[in-house]
């Protein structure tokens, strides 16, 4: 028998292509006749375009067209919902502004014109010649005083994600609690900043007399983008084809904001040539989404011996004027601890800033940070070890819904994590540990991630040469999708992993959802299995009908696949290879589709991954510099499909969490709403020198309920938890509670001075 490929640390199957430059990213497709687009964007954050002078741009060398709201093709409104996800309205996920439809300006950096030229350089230069004057209005930039403030009902319209909830009576319970703690935590705007900037290439053709649009885009939602574009441009869905075989990182961007893709399609329509628009890094700070800033109030009531009696988590979130996106900050608070009185609220202010969207651990990264810092503060207040306090409030069932967890082994995570970091050897007293110029501190935080699963389809094809191809419209973001779905498919087909290929990133393939919410493995893995089983079933029927086959006359149930052969279950010697069956039938290949979706287990159980994160920090008080000396985490994420790609996801997520904690922040000018930080020299993401060796372990215990694969998602859990572990370690080192992300030197110096 072949050993199972799933669970093996297989090297990334696209790794060689990527390092050799053979993986083709969106901006690299070279289409005959390609023209280039460049954006002219709004200098102001609020108001209207008064005049648009495009003469100089039109006359510049190489210019083919200049699109503005005055002459651009008309678009239909953004759909209300796509694939069940709420797009429009409070709590909706996307920016609803359709580009170049009118003169209104909602934020600085909003595209106001597209210049198309024969070269990239001509387009950029001509874009700089577009002269715009404005009727300027005072931008609203302050959450507290914003004139449009709402209480959104549900995140993305999902009934599982209410944003205003009360269980029991948290207010009275807090009033009655013997220990009370109320703290305010604030987090800065951050940007995903994937290394690959947003890019689109659009090409129009006539096919059978009808308009047909091909779009190469840096999207992690080929099917969603297909729907948005077909609805916006009023085209039949089948006449829009989206292609994206590789994505250079997304982290939450590249899924839910469509202006660049729509602008490219419009520009290509106008000039009658394929057009490419690649955003500049500066544009990524206005048109690519962001994590909005938050202000969160945590109110905890507890008994003296550390039993939580009340937990209230209220968030002031912010969004743009043209989106209802609400950072769902209570995602951790609503499920983590056994607390009888639990409440959370989300207050949304609309500002003249660019639209936010999900960013790795939406809600969890900054919301979990606030919760886990508050728990640490409570531990100090009660003089209880922070791990012990968490164990005293360990939840065996979901405190909001009362459902049992599908699989939870968090106790093991705490225990193993303490061993890895050397928790017991530390001096628990704050400000008690030193090395040279530095104070030393240790911190812990619990982490989690909702284990979502959605519906997806795949197609499996077995070829007469014994190789196989499995396809689904999912995406490779650097997450390892090509690799693990090949492994899963190979096992389902009982073929060696090198005989199986997996294809993705194309809306013509069987449907899969937008890659996000750490749901891809749990969603597409079962679909790949279902498709593989479906094609094997077709092959079994073919063999059983064939008088020359040793399987002739056998019922499908009496046949099984083994090592690339179909054999009789009763006698494995009676059988033949897939190739033999196909060759005799004179078939080059055989294909079948399969669909997999979650069932009523979702009603019975609460599905989450868990983990414990530990950090050791060094703090140089004189300069306010904080370095993470060590990071350890132990995760309970179900069964690992590939420990090597999993480790990359974990340490990548933790590094991103480290960045959000220590350095990442985008500042907007408080007077005019323009991004002040707009390049990667000023927006700091962690360098290697900021990133210690990260020790990660996964329990690797299959989840018996999520799917036959037993795998929950792992894309985001690393980012969650890390911020609180580091912040709590800074407290242990310095005795200072810093409650504003990121923990830059100025903030520590200020805290020390007061």
């Amino acid at each position: 028998m072949l050993t199972e490929a799933t669970g093996q640390p297989l090297d990334r199957v696209d790794g060689r292509l990527k390092v050799m430059g053979g993986a083709r990213y969106t901006a690299e497709w070279d289409l005959p006749g390609l023209a280039y687009g460049a954006l002219a964007t709004s200098a102001i954050a609020h108001g209207k375009v008064r005049t648009l002078d495009i003469k100089a741009a039109q006359q510049a060398p190489g210019v083919l067209a200049v699109l503005t709201y005055l002459n651009a093709p008309r678009l239909q409104p953004m759909p209300e919902k796509v694939g069940g996800t709420l797009f429009r309205g409070e709590g909706g996920i996307t920016e609803t502004l359709q580009p170049l439809q009118d003169a209104t300006i909602a934020y600085a950096g909003q595209p106001l014109a597209v210049v198309v030229a024969d070269t990239h350089e001509h387009a950029r230069y001509a874009a700089s010649l577009v002269r715009i004057t404005y009727d300027e209005a005072k931008p609203e930039l302050d959450r507290a005083t914003a004139s449009r403030q709402t209480l959104p009902e549900a995140f993305t319209g999902s009934k599982e994600e209410p944003l205003q909830v009360t269980v029991g009576d948290p207010r009275s319970a807090l009033a009655a609690a013997s220990v009370k703690l109320e703290r305010v935590y604030e987090s800065a705007i951050t940007h995903h900043n994937p290394i690959e900037q947003l890019a689109t290439i659009a090409r129009w053709e006539k096919r059978n007399g009808a308009d047909y649009l091909t779009v190469y885009d840096t999207t992690r939602g080929v099917d969603t983008l297909q729907e948005v574009i077909s609805a916006s441009l009023n085209l039949p869905k089948d006449n829009v084809h989206i292609i994206c075989p590789f994505i250079g990182g997304a982290f939450g961007s590249k899924g839910w904001l469509y202006a660049p893709a729509l602008l490219t399609a419009m520009a290509a329509r106008v000039v009658g040539r394929p057009v490419k628009i690649e955003l500049r890094r500066q544009d990524m700070f206005s048109t690519a989404g962001q994590r909005g800033a938050t202000r969160q109030t945590l109110s905890l009531g507890a008994t003296r011996d550390g039993k939580l009696t009340s937990l209230q988590h209220d968030t002031q979130a912010q969004t743009s004027m043209v989106s209802g996106y609400t950072e769902p900050c209570a995602r951790v608070s609503r499920m983590m601890y056994a607390v009888p009185n639990l409440g959370f609220a989300h207050h949304l202010s609309h500002l003249n800033l660019p639209s936010p969207c999900p960013m790795r651990g939406p809600g969890e990264t900054v919301g979990g940070w606030a919760l886990e810092c508050a728990i640490d503060e409570l531990a100090t207040e009660l003089n209880i070890d922070p791990v012990e306090l968490r164990l005293r409030n360990y939840a065996d069932k979901n405190p909001e819904t009362g459902k049992p967890f599908s699989s939870k082994h968090l106790r093991e995570c705490y225990a193993r994590g303490q061993e890895l970091i050397g928790w017991a050897a530390r001096n628990p007293k704050p400000r008690s540990m030193r090395e040279g110029n530095s104070l030393i501190g240790y911190g812990v935080a619990t982490t989690m991630y909702p284990a979502a699963r959605r519906e997806a389809s795949a197609r499996a094809t077995i070829f007469a040469d014994g190789h196989a191809l499995v396809q689904s419209a999912t995406h490779e973001l650097g997450n390892g999708a090509y690799t693990i779905f090949r492994q899963i498919s190979a096992d389902a087909l009982t073929l060696p992993v090198n005989n199986v290929r997996f294809e993705l990133g194309d809306s013509a393939l069987p449907k899969a959802p937008t890659t996000g919410g750490s749901a891809t493995t749990a969603t597409v893995g079962p679909a790949a299995t279902a498709a593989s089983e479906a094609v094997l079933s077709a092959l079994k029927q073919l063999a059983a009908r064939d008088a020359k086959s040793p399987l002739f006359g056998a019922s499908e149930e009496a046949i099984e696949a083994r090592d690339g052969r179909l054999v009789r279950k009763a006698n494995a010697a009676q059988g033949e290879t897939y190739a033999a069956i196909l060759k005799r039938a004179k078939l080059p290949s055989i294909s079948a589709e399969g669909t997999a979706k979650p069932g009523d287990e979702r009603e019975q159980f609460s599905f989450y991954s868990f983990g414990a994160v530990f950090a050791k920090v060094r703090v140089d008080e004189a300069s306010g510099s904080i370095r993470v000396a060590q990071l350890c985490a132990v995760y309970d994420v179900g069964r690992l499909m590939n420990p090597q790609t999993a480790r990359s996801q974990f340490i990548g997520g933790m590094s991103m969490g480290l960045g959000a904690t220590l350095m990442e922040a985008t500042h907007y000018d408080a007077r005019n709403g323009r991004a002040v930080v707009r390049n990667l020299a000023d927006y700091h993401v962690p360098s290697m020198a900021d990133t210690p060796d990260i020790l990660v372990e996964a329990l690797n215990i299959p989840d018996p309920h999520i799917s036959a694969l037993g795998a929950r998602g792992i894309g985001e859990i690393g980012c969650v938890g890390t911020p609180a572990a580091i912040t709590n370690a800074v407290f242990h080192a310095t005795g200072q509670r810093l409650r504003s992300l990121p923990l830059t030197p100025d903030k520590l110096l200020k805290a020390l001075a007061s």
């Binding site: 060094r618 300069s623 000018d669 060796d693």
Partner: protein, 350 residues
């Protein structure tokens, strides 16, 4: 990017002549700063004269010191044995700056001539007197986290971002130039200007004046550079400090101190220098010197943190230079210069 002509310089004199007669012409060397600003549209020259190929790349012993050709790369200068051994502050400042890739391209003349990192300078939709004289200063009243404590004006509060320049100022390096009016020598502390009413002028160089070398004068003391930044590597200084100490037995004969990240130019802390001369080094003395150095600091809305940071940094630089405290890494390396050190690695004394 605006269209421009590009030509390679044939000789220093030819380059000077071509640029001097065209007010829209500019030099380019490594291009790491110039190309960035071209792409942002901040610089819009009509002609670029590339001086990188001129034979100005040698580093040689010179009058007991070292002469560094204008085109020597930051990497070559940082690892030049005589510089690393006798002027460690220079190597430390270079190696704590930018990234390996940038240092391999960046030249020794280009580095001190890089322009401010004031974010408004790079955004054409914001007012900025340095970029567009008379348009106003967005940083005053805006986000001024990285701006100046000293020597600023009502027209501009920008800081100079070069690490190298801070070390060169403390060491009283000399800049050799050849220009439309012949050759001259400029004392490094006089190279950069304060903003005053002409913030668009960073230096005293005339249009078309070419730097040919930077000379480090003979020096028998110790020097050291310290830098604080928001990430452990590949970030500009929030505050930095270069110290050059000459001892007379147990006493300080002469101390020179330049502060980085706090002014439109490397800021010589003359009151502190005066206070140290002739004194026995002690921590108390150094604290007094640091207090004197920052006594006249004028913070803006978002940069007051630089005062305690800068004071603490100067005390530490003096302690480490005088040997009262160990360096945080081998002299002449980024490890000695980087306050806070690298993640994961526990700071080890020299």
């Amino acid at each position: 990017m605006h269209p421009f002509q590009y030509q390679r310089a044939e000789s220093g004199d030819q380059a000077v002549a071509v640029v001097a007669k065209n007010p829209d012409a500019a030099f380019i060397a490594g291009g790491t700063s110039q190309v960035d600003l071209l792409k942002e549209g901040v610089h819009q020259p009509s002609l670029l004269v590339d001086v990188a190929g001129l034979p100005l790349r040698q580093i040689t012993d010179f009058e007991g010191g070292v002469r560094i050709g204008a085109n020597a790369t930051n990497t070559e200068a940082a690892y030049y044995p005589a510089i690393q051994a006798r002027y460690p502050a220079v190597s430390e400042a270079l190696l704590a700056g930018a990234s390996v890739q940038i240092r391999n391209m960046a030249t020794m003349a280009g580095n001190p001539l890089q322009r401010t990192r004031c974010p408004y300078f790079r955004d054409l939709d914001q007012p900025c007197n340095k970029r567009t004289p008379g348009s106003g200063c967005a940083a005053i009243g805006g986000y001024n986290h990285v701006h100046a404590l000293f020597g600023a004006s009502a027209a501009c509060v920008a800081t100079h971002p070069s690490d190298l320049a801070v070390a060169l100022s403390a060491l009283d390096a000399r800049v050799q130039t050849t220009g439309p009016r012949g050759s001259r020598t400029i004392a490094f502390p006089d190279l950069h200007r304060l903003p005053g009413t002409t913030p668009h002028l960073d230096t005293v160089l005339e249009h078309g004046e070419l730097i040919t070398s930077i000379d480090l004068p003979a020096f028998a003391g110790r020097s050291h550079y310290l830098k604080v930044r928001e990430r452990a590597s590949y970030a500009y200084a929030l505050a930095s400090c270069a110290v050059a100490l000459e001892m007379d037995g147990a006493k300080i004969k002469r101390a020179r101190i330049a502060l980085g990240g706090v002014a439109h130019k490397p800021w010589r802390a003359t009151p502190a220098e005066a206070l140290l001369a002739g004194q026995q080094p002690t921590e108390k003395l150094f604290q007094a010197a640091a207090a004197a150095a920052f006594a006249d600091a004028k913070p803006l809305e978002h940069n007051a943190y630089k005062i305690p940071m800068g004071r603490n940094l100067l005390v530490r630089a003096l302690l480490e230079t005088s040997g009262l405290q160990p360096l945080q890494g081998p002299a002449g390396t980024a490890f000695a210069a980087s306050v806070g050190g690298m993640a994961g690695q526990v700071a080890t004394p020299n």
